[in-house]
Amino acid sequence: METAINRKKYRQTISRFQSLIALFILCFVISLLSDKFLTATNIWNVMRQISVNICISVGMTLVVLTAGIDLSVGSILALCGAITAGLLKNGIEIPSHNLYIGFTIFGAIITGLLGGSLLGWFNGWAITKFKVPPFAATLAMLTIARGLTMLWTKGFPISNLGEKFASLGTGWFLGIPSPVWISGIIVFIAIIITNKTKLGRYIYAIGGNESAATLSGINIKKIKIAVYTIAGALAAVGGILVTSRLDAAQPNAGTGYELDSIAAVVIGGTSLSGGRGSVMGTVLGAVIIGVLNNGLVLLNVSPFWQQVVKGFVILIAVVIDKANAKE
């Protein structure tokens, strides 16, 4: 009897730290196979790359915790990056009045963030108002936002945005890359929201049992709209970081980012059926995905095989999640 309890406790401990264990094993194996992996340059480079995914994945975690999904984050990222870059570079021209409205870096970033929030709000509104499945509503937004990006950029990159703006994605603060600080602050706020606020408790409640949450008086619509709005805003943060880092807004930026963020969420232990998971788990998931991507590149694995490997890692994570849920 005691052995069975001990075994269960042991399994629970393993399950709790499974992402961390997976990360350690991954780092250990890659460092054995590539001497470039554990260099400071490479580690900071990986951290910079992961930062964008962390921003998006934190928003995705909140969405998935409500048993939803957001497939539009990659396109919202591209559109908001393009809006920010476009306003910063070209401003708004009103030839009829010989007027040029220029945007400061602050103004362009605020507008980009507002754009992301608005698109996220629209996702939430469509899902709650018309009872459209999150999958379908955000899939539609994926196409809408991508189309708007193409219209805004005319299919060309918007580049040469200035050193000050570029420092947001490429700069350092206290010896740590700026994007790492930004994603760190976002993670910190998200942890506070999910663990210490009413909004956080409502998010878990909706994902755990929506009917029960409705009966207990939670305004489901309001919470869901808030969650999708936050996800949109965080995708915009990702877009601004990518644009700043490349010093250019690419019309096809963010393609496939939704998959990376969903992978980070799932690998981090958040249940796709909602109500279970954590922001910290997602951060670990994003780090695993980032390290895996970096490792495969360092080991010279073909990009086609990289996709196959990533797919299998996600599948394994989902299978483990299902097994944990049964226990």
């Binding site: 401003g91 021209e93 009103i94 030839p95 010989n98 007027l99 040029y100 409205i101 220029g102 945007f103 400061t104 602050f106 103004g107 362009a108 605020i110 507008t111 990159p157 580049s159 040469n160 945005l161 050193e163 490349l246 010093d247 250019a248 010279n300």
Partner: protein, 207 residues
């Protein structure tokens, strides 16, 4: 209480808007843009006429290069190639003399002297960064953004399409002996000698 909230919101919005946008006359902005923009075409033309022309004599003979690559690829890549980053694609500045073996729709096949291995000279689709990177004379750090850097490649390729190829394509005949200098991009990990395509920078027909 509600009124206070509204007032605070309005004040915040005004402060944000004041720091977010500024207004100028459109014609003044347009005038300043034309003077500050990077001119890739001008940069490419200057590079072509000065730096590139002065360094063409540093090109490695293609037959010699292919022989060295087959014997000691690592050392040959290290000694003769240039590249932007740490990737496997690296560029060589090459020269050669040989007989035109065939003239095709998009390229010509040349059999260099003392070699059984034909090489291809691109004559239709001139793209990529081989010309820009082969000499190693253009440093990415000179550029404020990658678009300008990439535009230099596009402009160099345009010079080849407009100034190098038209007259050559008119005169080229099968069996003619030509001398060429060009750039070639090779993959360090997957060397394929069966299809070596050179982007020509200078071609002269001897006979």
């Amino acid at each position: 209480m509600k009124i206070a909230k509204y007032i605070i919101s309005i004040v915040v919005m005004i402060v944000v808007a004041y720091n977010a946008v500024f207004f100028k006359k459109l014609d003044e902005v347009k005038a300043s843009r034309t003077t500050t923009a990077f001119n890739a075409a001008q940069y490419a033309q200057t590079f072509w006429n000065t730096k590139l022309a002065a360094n063409l004599d540093k090109a490695t003979d293609i037959t010699k290069l292919l022989t060295m690559l087959s014997k000691d690829p690592a050392k040959t890549f290290e000694t003769y190639s240039h590249a932007l980053g740490i990737g496997n694609l690296r560029c060589f500045l090459v020269k050669g003399k040989g007989v035109i073996a065939s003239i095709n729709e998009d390229d010509i096949s040349v059999l260099p002297d003392s070699s059984k291995q034909a090489v291809t000279l691109a004559t239709e689709y001139i793209f990529g960064n081989a010309v820009r990177d082969a000499t190693g004379l253009i440093n990415i750090n000179e550029f404020t953004n990658t678009m300008d850097f990439n535009n230099v490649s596009a402009e160099l390729n345009k010079i080849i399409r407009q100034n190098v190829l038209p007259s050559f394509k008119q005169q080229a005949k099968k069996g003619s002996v030509i001398e060429f200098i060009g750039a070639v991009e090779l993959n360090k990990e997957h060397l394929d000698f069966s299809h070596v395509e050179i982007v020509p920078m200078k071609i002269e027909i001897d006979e």
